[in-house]
């Protein structure tokens, strides 16, 4: 290793930020288009939305069933209807928004920050999702199914 002296400035590290930014723009664009589309086309009326294959085969509700209808309800401000369509989806969205916003604020202070997800949270989420799927298919908890 040779020394470059005290006054020299090290070169920039290989920068993946533009790629990350590009990916972010593409993802935001796709999600934005999806939101606009769902806003104008009510999933309860139009049949061209992809049908849940699990529901089609088994007649049971999967953990994601009702999410599109829930999204439509959310976009139109019907929070109660959205919660009935898919409570897990609504809660996940809320958690994601709160965590994401908090992270962005932290990152403004510390640019080197990473968004860390504890694996315990992921396993916990999986357990809750499994319980939710079980419950929403039981007659006693039909208020959890769309």
């Amino acid at each position: 290793m040779t020394s470059a002296g005290a006054q020299a400035v090290p070169p920039k590290l290989k920068n993946t930020a533009p790629l990350t930014f590009f990916a972010g723009v593409v993802i935001a664009f796709v999600i934005g288009c999806g939101l606009v589309f769902v806003y104008f086309f009510n999933p309860n009326r139009y049949g061209f939305y992809p049908v849940c294959q699990f529901h089609k085969l088994t007649g049971l509700n999967c953990p994601g069933c009702g999410a599109t209808r829930g999204l439509y309800a959310l976009l139109h401000g019907h929070f109660q209807a959205a919660f009935k369509d898919n409570a897990l989806f609504c809660v996940s969205l809320a958690i994601g928004m709160v965590w994401g916003t908090r992270f962005l604020f932290q990152k403004r202070k510390n640019p080197g920050l990473y968004f860390h997800i504890p694996t315990k949270f992921v396993w916990g989420y999986l357990a809750v999702a499994a319980l939710f799927t079980l419950l929403r298919n039981l007659p006693a908890f039909s208020f959890l199914s769309p």
Partner: protein
């Protein structure tokens, strides 16, 4: 004031400079958590995020399990690597998108995003995270899930309410 030397991306040694200068270099992308750093008077080079005075810059990614003792070389912490949460979440979502094959994009797109974030975090911090294989499998499954989603969407488009506009339904 403590002074530091760092190894730049070109493999050359820069410094000695102050902690403020190092912080500026971090902000400018000239140094990161993996940058080898020598504190004035220290015996060995260390990764920047293993120095307590800079750890807070990268701190939120590491839950405070045990303080990394300055006397322990980085290799000694290899056993303490943790599975990356994004990679795990990506694998679960993309697995769901293929196994359940339901509401295909609802699971495959988050699966793709989570796996990519996981892969980039693991590549950036190999001494902190494990789960590269998990992230790669998640990536592959989410791409399969997206293709399945396109098939299911085409099926809905052609056999759903739009078939009036498409004329007779030729697509069984």
């Amino acid at each position: 004031m403590a002074m530091y030397k760092i190894v730049g991306a070109d493999g050359r040694v820069y410094g000695p400079v102050s902690a403020e200068q190092i912080q500026k270099w971090i902000a400018e992308g000239r140094a990161n958590a993996q940058t080898q750093t020598l504190a004035e008077g220290a015996a060995a080079w260390k990764q920047l995020n293993l120095l307590p005075e800079f750890a807070h810059y990268f701190a939120a990614q590491v839950p405070p399990i045990a303080p990394v003792s300055p006397s322990i070389p980085p290799l000694a912490t290899a056993g303490a690597r943790k599975i990356n949460g994004w990679a795990l979440a990506g694998l679960i979502f993309s697995g769901a998108s293929v196994l359940l094959c339901c509401c295909p994009f609802l699971f495959s797109i988050p699966g793709l995003i989570f796996s990519l974030i996981g892969l980039s975090q693991i590549s950036g911090n190999p001494h902190l995270y494990e789960g590269r294989g998990m992230a790669i499998v998640g990536l592959a499954l989410s791409i399969i899930g997206i293709f399945l989603g396109i098939i299911v969407t085409l099926d809905s488009l052609l056999n759903g309410s739009f078939h009036y506009h498409l004329g007779t339904n030729h697509f069984p």
